[in-house]
């Protein structure tokens, strides 16, 4: 088996989800090649080559690859996909954007968002917002797969010294260009990987009051998350959204504060080790999956909690 993994990065550092994706590749078993497609991303190439489980790094360096445009990355990956038995990418916005494009060019049916590897051709993936798990067997000659990073531990980031090979990029796709990026700057750790996540919902009531969620998070050095209702109402930016259509997280502790626990929200956090729910409605569905619940007004409990945590 020979497996190609597509690295996610911002041209300066590797995204942690690449290490989780590499673990899924290791579970399939075989020789692993890591592709770094970017622009002036030498530091990422160096990081990639240092990963113990990677046997070869392919480095494609072109201005057209700087901003993760799906058309260009898909073109690049399509050119080499047939050399491998499997092509894997993280099931992040990056991976979801370009890999189905490659799949169509290869005439392959992608397996999306896998949470387990049963064998080299059989994988488990959630459907219906995680309310069912389907085991599927692929008959395609090249298997294209996106990997849910919370379902696989990260591989060691060091200990290796893989050979680096250059991969030439052709011509940029006409008709698409990158304009701008509006990245949420936060002092808090990354939502996708933080060991503790504190999320606020519609119950928090306003953007101003969302500060009490942030204060609690700060006290525990936790990441901040939000329900869709909180994002829609403008309490928090879109990349804070946890759920079926937002991020999937699985921290050691997940605080759901003023969140009712709709199935679409649960889809993004139900694999957390410990779930804490704070809600004034004892009937709220979130209590059905909470490890610990407090039935009370969040404006009483959250400041108390922040105060008492040392």
């Amino acid at each position: 088996m020979s497996i190609l993994v597509i690295a996610e990065h911002d041209n300066s550092a590797l995204n942690a989800n690449t290490l989780n994706t590499l673990n899924a590749a290791a579970k399939i078993g075989g020789d692993i090649t890591l592709l770094v497609a970017g622009s002036d991303a030498q530091s990422v190439v160096d990081e990639a080559a240092a990963i113990a489980s990677v046997s070869k790094v392919l480095s494609a360096n072109d201005a057209a690859l700087a901003d993760g445009l799906a058309e260009n990355i898909a073109w690049l990956v399509n050119g080499i996909a047939a050399n491998y038995t499997h092509v894997l990418a993280p099931a992040s916005n990056f991976g979801k954007n370009f890999l189905p494009r490659v799949a169509a060019m290869q005439d392959v049916m992608q397996v999306s968002d896998i949470v387990d590897v049963v064998s080299a051709d059989t994988f488990v993936r959630p459907i219906y917002a995680g309310n069912a798990l389907v085991t599927v067997k692929s008959s395609d000659s090249v298997k294209l797969i996106t990997v849910r990073s919370t379902a696989f531990d990260a591989v060691e980031a060091t200990g290796g010294s893989a050979a680096v090979e250059e991969l030439a990029f052709g011509e940029a796709f006409e008709g698409v260009s990158f304009v701008s990026r509006d990245v949420t700057v936060s002092e808090r750790p990354d939502l996708a990987t933080a060991p503790i996540v504190v999320s606020g919902g519609r119950g928090v009531g306003s953007k101003e009051d969302f500060a009490i969620i942030e204060k609690l998070a700060e006290k525990m050095n936790a990441a901040v998350g939000a329900s869709r209702a909180a994002v829609d109402a403008g309490y928090a930016p879109n990349d804070f959204q946890v759920g079926q259509t937002g991020k999937v997280v699985a921290p050691d502790i997940y605080f759901a504060i003023g969140i009712s626990g709709a199935i679409q929200h649960q889809a993004g956090m139900r694999e957390s080790k410990v779930i804490v729910a704070i809600n004034k409605d004892e009937e709220a569905p979130i209590f059905q999956i909470a490890t610990y619940g407090i039935v009370a007004d969040l404006f009483d409990v959250v400041p108390e909690l922040t105060e008492q945590l040392s």
Binding site: P100, M109, T135, I253, G293
Partner: protein, 249 residues
């Protein structure tokens, strides 16, 4: 410009689905079905384009059984001009759907195709990207804002780090995020009028594309249930539990 909107009939988002006891699939008998929420956003966007004089005709298309006519009727009630039902008994995979849609694009020659970013039943998040690749068109996925400027679109996309704006030339494929717009609710007269609007029916087999599934469903199971939790009285008790019982703090 003609706009083609792909709509899918799915189990309503309020339904808590049940996995069949024999592990063969999900029980969809007698459950409420509705239009995939993201597709409502797609249709709404097309309707706004028409109001703004950018779109001239809106065609809704679905792949499914006769029952998917319901979804097309909803689309017509929202304001689509006409609808196409591609009849398929076995629900094709996203690759098959994308192939069928690419044939419809060849026939209809729209300037834009709008799809949902994902269908809430299978959560594949593939069809739009696959269609764009088959057509060799640019794609604007996970869109939360679309501004049309001549024959291009400035498209704001929701990413894992925030927002990103790209510019794509038409013809193109767009997939919607829920924050793109607020879909309208059809009014009773529109629902009545929709009954008279035309639905073309074509057999999927007539397109001559390979729809054979590539993925075999081995089994479907329910996720492991979480252990029931406890209600604690206050912040102090919670901190104690997190430290001494769960050992996570």
């Amino acid at each position: 410009m003609k706009v083609l909107v792909a709509v899918k009939r799915v189990v309503d988002y309020n339904v808590r689905i049940r996995v069949k006891s024999d592990g063969s699939g999900v029980d969809t008998d007698n459950v409420v079905m509705s239009m995939n929420p993201f597709d409502e956003n797609g249709l709404e966007e097309a309707l706004r384009m028409k109001q703004a004089g950018i779109a001239t005709e809106i065609v809704a298309v679905t792949v499914g059984t006769e029952q998917s006519q319901d979804t097309l009727r909803s689309a017509l009630a929202m304001g689509a001009d006409r609808a196409i039902l591609i009849k398929a008994d076995e629900a094709p995979e996203p690759l098959g759907i994308a192939k069928l849609l690419s044939k419809v694009v060849e026939q209809e020659e729209p300037g834009l195709v709008i799809l949902g970013k994902q269908a809430i039943d299978d959560d594949s998040n593939q069809t739009g990207q696959m269609l764009a690749a088959l057509l060799n068109w640019p794609q604007g996925t996970f869109a939360s804002k679309a501004e049309f400027e001549g024959d291009s679109v400035n498209l704001t996309r929701e990413t894992d780090a925030g927002l990103e704006t790209i510019k794509i030339n038409l013809p193109a494929v767009i997939t919607t995020d829920l924050r793109l717009n607020e879909p309208r609710l059809p009014k009773l007269p529109d629902i009545m009028k929709a009954k008279k609007k035309p639905i073309d029916m074509v057999e999927a087999a007539s397109f001559g594309v390979d729809l054979a599934p590539r993925l075999e469903v081995v089994s479907v199971s329910a996720p492991e249930a979480r252990k029931p939790g406890v209600i604690v009285a206050n912040a102090a008790e919670l901190i104690d539990k997190l430290k001494n019982e769960a050992g996570v703090l």
